[in-house]
């Protein structure tokens, strides 16, 4: 339907119509006007164009206004004749149609307004409001028509599931509405909506048709619902299932519309028709004041879904068509749309255009394969040429929107390839430009196939390598592309690709073996430089464990993913210094660089089996401490698998010297003792016969009694131990200390300086003395106790006095056992005057090792000088002592010889037992040998009470030297208390009755 045929109509009649009036009305469409619409739709600014017709020639069925142009200029004529004519004309107009009377003179117009009582419809031709009035009326007319059509369309649509309803008729109706809206400049989008609705309605019908056969929907509540209207497709829809005879591209074909309305069109005809209408409207909307971007990108955006929906619908409706026809059609439409897009340069490179391009490429690729147009083949066969001709003919005579290229391409492989490349590169460039890198790489992948066929493996390899980066980490995609890439590569790159494929766990073992054998073949052809490849692509470096020490070694564990065993030369570089920041030579062979292997660990060639392998690498030559850096496995002298440079571990050279440790239990002094020196060899080991001189400090004798010995060590490997046993006797200088540390000094060629070692000795026993007195006789008790917590045997105690003699009390001649918690005592009777200086010696035996202990004692003068005797007796008159009764303490002090000074006595009574009633202390002048004193004491309790003690001290009276008298105690044994530990029997007190 032509928009020109749908334009609103202005009819004219009357004598006043002339060229002026015509030009006046033609300006109706020059300006936009606000169109207020019912049903709550927003106002729009539209321009209305109208066709002018003489009243008799006006077509019916279009929105219309009638105008009457009067030539009458004076009021008299108006009254006499013109008024009647106008009234007659008005009566001839059907109800509901707008009309306007245009009068030549303003005064006549005034008259007419009052007389016809139609002030709005009578206007002077000179009135500036004329045009506005005309527009308003036109719009009203169009609005009325739109509402009428809209109602009809809605009514028809409601009936769509009824018998006898036809999509074609409905389409014709809705198109009328669309055409009407299309006449309003600025309301094309409204017209577009009509076509979109048609489009959607049709799509829905086909969708529903696709569900036929699956109509038993199980509802949520478990009930089955049978949808009747889906039981069979409407008859009009089946007409679209007719086999395709043509697959023309876009373009309005009046036959097609006729066919559609009569339900006789093919699916593609309908789709193309609808899309062409939409396209035209979009292009119409593409006015400068509108947003270009929005609309032109919509063109491409709408196209792709159309193509996809169509190919789906062809399948759903089971339409028959020659192979390739659908692709052919899709390419044709794409080319046409792209051609249209080219008018908007910024839009050629929009995403929808690129996606469309991409789609067209795929279809074209399929076509090319079908028709033998792809490069590399022998060209199309005669059957293929026939098919191409057939497909070309189906495209129709002359496509209106460009797209001649397709016909051309179907005819010649060269043109076809050019077209394909042109499209692919356009899409690729746009994808890249828009940052759709993955889409670009996918397309590149396709393009690579094309170039590969074309015999340009370099270009194909470039595209594939790019595509490979996009799928890194996606195992199957990676392998898929890599397998393809391998076909395009040569030399070392091919070798690397084959190695990766052989190591790919996603492939079948057989396939991997094939790749592996191909790799071995390729390696033979490689030049001597070979190739360097990242180790991780083929092997997993599980661990590198340095074994530090004299010989540098490293334990390497790797997991091989290769399908078969491989013999490699391993080496592991050692980086001894920080990497120098220097300009590296550009690496022509790949990303991975082989580092500096001048210092490395290596081994004989080893066989690496598939799976986990473990081997040890040894240092070659002298190495310094450094980092293990890179592992290299060289296969067949050509292929070098190198791991990334990393710090895999530190390998150390221990320039360590031999070390010594002392091993011994508790060592006892004064007895020959054995202890071990453990020599741990350093990195250089210990040579056979190495001499070590050991010097002992004073107090420690080694071996045979000297303070220095020389020993010879046997040969000892690095890290091994040699144990030397030494015998030593420690003779500590004083008996007081129990633990003594002795420092040994070892000198040898093993060490640059003397090596100090310390040994601890413990004195095994300790002795103390006690003096005992019996009247004038003296005894000396020596108490020996163990300090080493070990059991010892003691024998032959000897006490030597510097003055006087001593006689031991008889004891068993056998050795006595000294237990740690049970001291032993020896007693001698002394016959001595004056101070005692004694030496004690006893032999010690422990585990059949003999030693001796000796010590010296000194005691001050100890001869008995004074005897004290005390006796408690009842007071006179009583026979026994009773508690709380006064008693007498008879104290006798005798001096064995004259003492040159006075004595002080003090009574020290336990206050809980005794109360001293009289004097408690006094001074005795010993000018006579004996003194008798009686002191009064009272026992406080009954029982056997110990005697109150008497303490005697030397009394030095005050003289010129000191103002106070002084007391000095006696030495041990000088005072002998005869009544020491005597007790008094005290009877209980007599109860006073």
């Amino acid at each position: 339907m032509n928009y020109e045929e749908s334009k609103a109509v202005i009819t004219y009649t009357g004598e006043g119509w002339n060229a002026n009036a015509k030009s006046l009305l033609e300006a109706v469409g020059a300006d936009s006007f606000e169109w207020r619409r019912p049903l709550g739709r927003g106002p729009k600014h539209v321009r209305v164009e109208a066709a002018l017709f003489a009243a008799a020639e006006a077509p019916s069925n279009r929105p219309m206004i009638h105008t009457f142009w009067s030539a009458c200029t004076d009021v008299d004529t108006w009254r006499s004749s013109e008024k009647d004519r106008v009234e007659r004309w008005i009566r001839s107009i059907a109800a509901g149609v707008e009309w306007l009377v245009v009068l030549a003179a303003p005064k006549v117009a005034d008259k007419a307004r009052t007389e016809l009582k139609q002030s709005e419809r009578c206007i002077s031709s000179r009135d500036p409001a004329l045009l506005r009035r005309v527009r308003q009326m036109l719009l009203t007319a169009i609005s009325n028509e739109e509402q009428r059509l809209g109602q009809e369309v809605r009514k028809e649509r409601e009936r769509r599931n009824e018998q006898g309803w036809s999509f074609g008729e409905y389409l014709a109706l809705q198109e009328q509405l669309a055409a009407l809206l299309g006449t309003l400049k600025g309301a094309e989008d409204e017209a577009l909506v009509q076509y979109d609705e048609l489009d959607a309605l049709f799509t829905q019908f086909v969708r529903n048709a696709s569900l036929i056969g699956k109509v038993n929907f199980v509802l949520r509540n478990g009930k089955q619902q049978h949808l009747n209207f889906l039981s069979e497709p409407p008859p009009w829809l089946t007409s679209f299932s007719a086999p395709l005879k043509e697959w023309r591209g876009l373009g309005i074909d009046s036959n097609a519309r006729f066919a559609i309305v009569n339900s006789d069109a093919s699916l593609l005809q309908l789709r193309v028709y609808l899309f062409t209408r939409q396209l035209n409207l979009l292009l119409k909307m593409n006015q400068p004041q509108q947003s270009q971007k929005r609309i032109s990108s919509q063109i491409a955006e709408r196209c792709l879904p159309l193509l996809q929906i169509c190919s789906n619908e062809l399948r759903i409706l089971e339409v028959d068509f020659p192979e390739g026809a659908a692709s052919c059609w899709a390419v044709q439409v794409s080319l046409q749309v792209l051609h249209v897009c080219r008018k908007y340069p910024d839009q050629v490179h929009s995403l929808p255009a690129a996606t469309l391009c991409d789609y067209a490429c795929q279809k074209l690729f399929q076509l090319g394969e079908l028709l033998g147009l792809m490069p590399g083949g022998q060209g199309p066969s005669s059957a293929q040429i026939d098919a191409a001709l057939w497909l070309g003919a189906g495209l129709g005579p002359e496509p209106p929107f460009g797209g001649e290229q397709l016909k051309e391409a179907l005819g010649s492989p060269a043109a076809f390839q050019n077209l394909y490349l042109e499209l692919a590169e356009l899409a690729l460039g746009t994808f890249k430009h828009l940052g759709r890198s993955r889409s670009a790489r996918q397309l590149g992948h396709q393009l690579a196939n094309f170039h590969q066929l074309r015999g340009d493996p370099h270009l194909a390899a470039a595209y594939l390598s790019d595509a490979l980066t996009a799928v890194e980490g996606w195992p199957t995609l990676e392998i898929h592309i890599l397998s393809q890439l391998a076909e395009c590569l040569t030399g070392e790159k091919l070798a690397m690709a084959r190695a990766r494929l052989a190591a790919s766990l996603t492939l079948e073992l057989e396939v991997r073996k094939q790749h592996w054998h191909q790799l071995l073949q390729i390696l033979k052809t490689l030049d001597d430089d070979g190739c360097v490849m990242p180790l991780e692509e083929v092997f997993d470096l599980v661990s590198v464990t340095p074994i530090s020490g004299h010989r540098q070694q490293a334990n390497v564990k790797i997991n091989s993913r290769l399908p078969e065993a491989v013999l490699v030369n391993p080496s592991l570089s050692v980086q001894t210094s920080l990497p120098q920041v220097s300009r590296k030579e550009s690496n022509p062979r790949g990303r991975r660089l082989r580092g500096n292997f001048s210092a490395c660990l290596s081994s004989e060639p080893i066989k690496i089996q598939p799976g986990l392998n473990e081997f040890i690498l040894n240092a070659q030559g002298d190495l310094h401490t450094g980092h293990l850096s890179q592992l290299s496995l060289i296969m067949n002298d050509k292929m070098d698998f190198v791991s990334a440079e990393a710090r895999l571990g530190i390998i150390e050279v221990k320039k360590g010297e031999a070390t010594i440790s002392v091993e011994s239990g508790q060592l006892l002094a004064r007895m020959p003792q054995k202890f071990q020196l453990r020599f741990t060899a350093g990195t250089d080991g210990i040579e056979e016969g190495t001499e070590v001189t050991i010097k002992a400090p004073r107090g420690l004798s080694l071996g045979d009694g000297g303070r220095q010995i020389v020993i010879e060590l046997p040969k000892t490997e690095q890290g091994q131990d040699t144990v030397v046993t030494l015998e030593a006797i420690a003779t500590p200088p004083s008996a007081k200390s129990t633990d003594i540390e002795y420092g040994l000094t070892l000198t040898s060629s093993l060490w640059e300086q003397a090596y100090p070692v310390s040994v601890n000795f413990t004195v095994p026993v300790a002795a103390s003395v006690k003096l005992h007195t019996a009247m004038k006789t003296k005894f000396l008790q020596v108490v020996v106790s163990s300090t080493c917590r070990q059991r010892l045997m003691l024998s032959d105690p000897i006490l030597e006095l510097s003055l006087g003699t001593c006689t031991p009390l008889p004891i068993s001649p056998k050795p006595l056992t000294l237990d740690p918690d049970r001291p032993l005592s020896y007693i001698w009777q002394l016959e001595i005057d004056g101070p005692i200086r004694a030496k004690f010696n006893v032999n010690l035996t422990k585990d059949e090792v003999n030693g001796a202990y000796n010590c010296e004692f000194e005691l001050a003068e100890c001869a008995t000088m004074i005897f004290v005797n005390s006796k408690v007796a009842a007071a006179s008159g009583a026979e026994v002592c009773r508690a709380n009764a006064m008693c007498h303490l008879h104290l006798t002090v005798e001096a064995s010889e004259a003492i040159g000074h006075s004595l002080m006595y003090e009574l020290l009574a336990d206050q809980s037992m005794w109360a001293v009633c009289g004097r408690t202390a006094g001074v005795l002048n010993l000018d006579q040998p004996s003194h008798n004193l009686v002191l009064e004491v009272m026992p406080l309790t009954s029982g056997f009470l110990p005697h109150p003690q008497v303490r005697l001290s030397k009394y030095i009276p005050a003289n010129a030297g000191s103002t106070h008298p002084k007391l000095e105690p006696f030495g041990p044994g000088q005072v002998y208390n005869k009544s020491k530990s005597l007790q008094v029997h005290v009877l209980p007190a007599i109860q006073s009755s």
Binding site: R438, Q442, A470, G473, L477
Partner: protein
């Protein structure tokens, strides 16, 4: 093959750092070519994920792509790690919950100072969690 879910975590360099599939328990294990297709779909959807994530402030992007019966649902974390699920039946809420739980799990995992960003996730605990949430929200 209805009710299958293929879960991928895709790092900044577009490599998958974690993948797992969830099948209804009765299903046969998938075939290799199937896997190729799924990987292809997931990889191709990345462009669309990148485009969608600027259009919404939500992390969950719902279904971003469709290929035959396969849908691709995506989730983008704050650090631009992309979670993808390729699935063949609609389960918007389940997938959303699954993504949220996996996000939580991923955050915890990535806070481990010994985990280097953009490297494959090799953790039994993580796998168990993924399996658990897969059973809970996807295949149950």
């Amino acid at each position: 093959m209805s009710g299958c879910y293929y879960f991928y975590i895709v790092c900044h360099t577009d490599s998958p750092i974690f993948e797992m599939e969830f099948m209804p328990s009765a299903k046969e294990p998938k075939k290799e070519d199937h896997r190729h297709l799924i990987e292809f779909i997931a990889n191709a959807a990345l462009d669309l994920v990148d485009e969608h994530m600027w259009r919404t402030s939500n992390m969950y992007l719902k279904a971003v792509d469709k290929f035959n019966q396969w849908f691709v649902s995506a989730f983008v974390t704050a650090s631009n790690i992309r979670f993808l699920v390729v699935h063949d039946n609609k389960n918007e809420d389940g997938i959303k919950n699954f993504f949220m739980e996996m996000y939580e799990t991923y955050i915890k995992f990535s806070m481990n100072p010994f985990y280097k960003q953009n490297t494959p996730i090799k953790s039994i605990a993580f796998e168990k969690k993924a399996q658990f949430y897969g059973r809970k929200f996807l295949t149950s």
